[in-house]
């Protein structure tokens, strides 16, 4: 009975999830000629400085986006956790609703804002602040700005759930015992918020290093990261063993980051 209820779901997961991952592994290990399994493609990728630079770019982009997104998400999380406004529900929804609108559409919105004839450049020029348009689109700057905004709702959600335990009483108690505002923040609020902030950093980082729609559209062909390279190899060059190998390496990066995070989170929750 139990198995019968689980079986349809398991069947879909087997064909649509487990099999594709196994196939990915198999193709990544396919030799150039003949049958069998070899690590040829891995050796080629790991021996090529181009892919090391690509990996460096990707991790750097992920780190920059994660740090900025979390820096912006923390104030919003703090605000939402403490506000007693009757609009709180609406404000929470507004902060996370962008998650449910298409990444393609939001990237397009940023193209409109940041391009040479976009909102920012036109406004600055009209105000006489700049003579030539700032290079905000079709480059790394534009990709970072758009990715921060697109991934920020995840960070807000994580920070907010981490702050679920924060109560006005904590702050009041600290203040009553003579702590000033800075001390209340560093000794009361920050320790409580830290696990949520860590989750937010991790989540935005892993989503950023695996993204390709925004770097591809906002990068204007000038931003090369793992995602854009995998897409090129899989759909343009049609070098599937290479695409599979790069995807497996990305998955490995994911596994490493999540494992490290698990260790860190366990360490934090054990700390006094």
């Amino acid at each position: 009975m139990r198995l019968a209820l689980l079986l349809p779901g398991l069947a879909f997961l087997a064909v649509g999830f487990v099999l594709p991952l196994l196939w990915l592994l198999r193709i990544s290990l396919a030799p150039q000629t003949g049958d069998g399994l070899e690590a040829q493609t891995y050796a080629a990728v790991l021996g090529d400085p181009f892919y090391w630079r690509l990996a460096g770019n990707t991790l750097l982009l992920g780190a920059i986006v994660a740090v900025i997104a979390v820096l912006l998400a923390v104030p919003v999380g703090l605000f939402l956790a403490r506000t007693t406004s009757r609009w709180r529900g609406v404000l929470v929804s507004l902060a996370i609703a962008p998650l449910l609108t298409s990444t393609v559409v939001r990237t397009y919105g940023w193209m409109v804002i940041l391009s040479d004839r976009g909102l920012v450049n036109v406004t600055l020029r009209a105000a006489g602040l700049i003579a030539r348009p700032l290079p905000l689109a079709n480059n790394l700057t534009g990709s970072v700005i758009a990715m921060v905004e697109i991934l920020m709702p995840y960070a807000i959600l994580s920070v907010l759930s981490g702050l679920g335990r924060l109560q006005p009483a904590h702050e009041e108690a600290a203040a009553l015992h003579g702590a000033n505002r800075l001390r209340v923040f560093t000794r009361v609020i920050l320790p409580l918020a830290l696990p949520g902030i860590l989750t937010a950093l991790l989540l935005v980082f892993v989503l950023a290093i695996s993204s390709f729609i925004t770097p591809r559209l906002m990068g204007g062909g000038r931003v090369f990261v793992f995602g854009t390279e995998i897409y090129n190899e899989a759909t343009v060059t049609l070098n599937w063993p290479l695409a599979a190998t790069l995807a497996m390496l990305l998955l490995a990066a994911f596994a490493i980051v999540i494992t490290l995070y698990g260790r860190l989170a366990a360490h934090l929750s054990n700390a006094p």
């Binding site: 999830f17 507004l94 962008p98 409109v112 899989a234």
Partner: protein, 266 residues
């Protein structure tokens, strides 16, 4: 004395909110522009872009396909996710933790990785660039969302109601259909809605497996803005956003958006 920092704090929060909502607001404004190309500020207000979108056969076809794929995905994900949730919310058997983990694991794998895998699996069986292939992939990635939302609802049900039904002679199936299902209805609606939305907005896997045949709204927009930008695409984007907002409102009504979207802090 505290009023100045307080005001600065409010301005900071308002600024971040503006940043967060900026692309959506800008797309909305541009969609009413009268210029044939995209540039600020808008030259005038008209519905011409909307008329152009509605008259565009390519967009109409993509919109129809998106809604159809989303609906089929939602029904399939509910169809296989609800029975699984029934079992997974009653722990205490061997392999429960592992099975539960397996059902939620698609959340942990980046879509681009899965997209390459799906491409490699669909290619040899001739399902590349087919809607069935796309639906299969979307069901796999939406099952975890359905399991989570439905489990939320099932977990809140008072087991005494089901026991009372059984004591009074109802069969297992009748108990499920007449007691459990109605009580879990909010979770079912929210689960179906979120599955529809994830599929409706999904572009990564679609881009990897689609070619000339498969065309959904996010794909149509992606392909269009890769080469040009004009107010027509803004109007199409607004229609896509409106579709998402309507479904979101439904989710917020029945279960609460935050509970559905929150990822397990694990």
């Amino acid at each position: 004395m505290t009023s100045l920092p307080r005001a600065a704090w409010r301005i900071l929060i308002a600024g971040i909110y503006l940043f967060l909502l900026a692309p959506l607001l800008v797309v909305l404004v541009m969609s009413f522009d009268t210029k044939p190309y995209l540039a600020f500020p808008p030259a005038g207000v008209s519905l011409a872009s909307y008329a152009a979108v509605l008259a565009n056969a390519d967009f109409a076809q993509a919109a129809g396909a998106s809604v159809l794929v989303g609906a089929v995905v939602a029904l399939l994900a509910l169809g296989v996710g609800v029975p699984a949730s029934l079992v997974l919310t009653r722990p205490g058997w061997r392999g429960h933790a592992a099975t539960s983990g397996l059902f939620l694991s698609p959340l942990l794998v980046p879509h681009i990785v899965l997209a390459v895998g799906i491409l490699l699996v669909l290619a040899p069986i001739g399902l590349l660039d087919s809607y069935s292939g796309l639906i299969l992939a979307h069901v796999a990635i939406t099952i975890p969302y359905v399991i989570r939302t439905v489990s939320l609802s099932l977990g809140g049900i008072d087991r005494a109601c089901e026991e009372a039904a059984r004591v009074h002679g109802a069969s297992a199936f009748t108990t499920f259909a007449r007691v459990t299902l109605p009580l879990a209805a909010p979770g079912l609606i929210a689960g179906g809605a979120i599955a529809f939305l994830v599929s409706f907005d999904e572009a990564v896997i679609a881009l990897f497996i689609a070619n000339s045949h498969v065309n959904t709204l996010p794909l149509a927009i992606f392909r269009y803005i890769e080469f040009r930008t004009d107010p027509q695409i803004a109007a199409l984007s607004v229609l896509l956003i409106l579709g998402s907002v309507l479904v979101m409102l439904a989710i917020e009504r029945v279960l609460g958006l935050r509970r559905v979207l929150e990822r397990p802090a694990k």
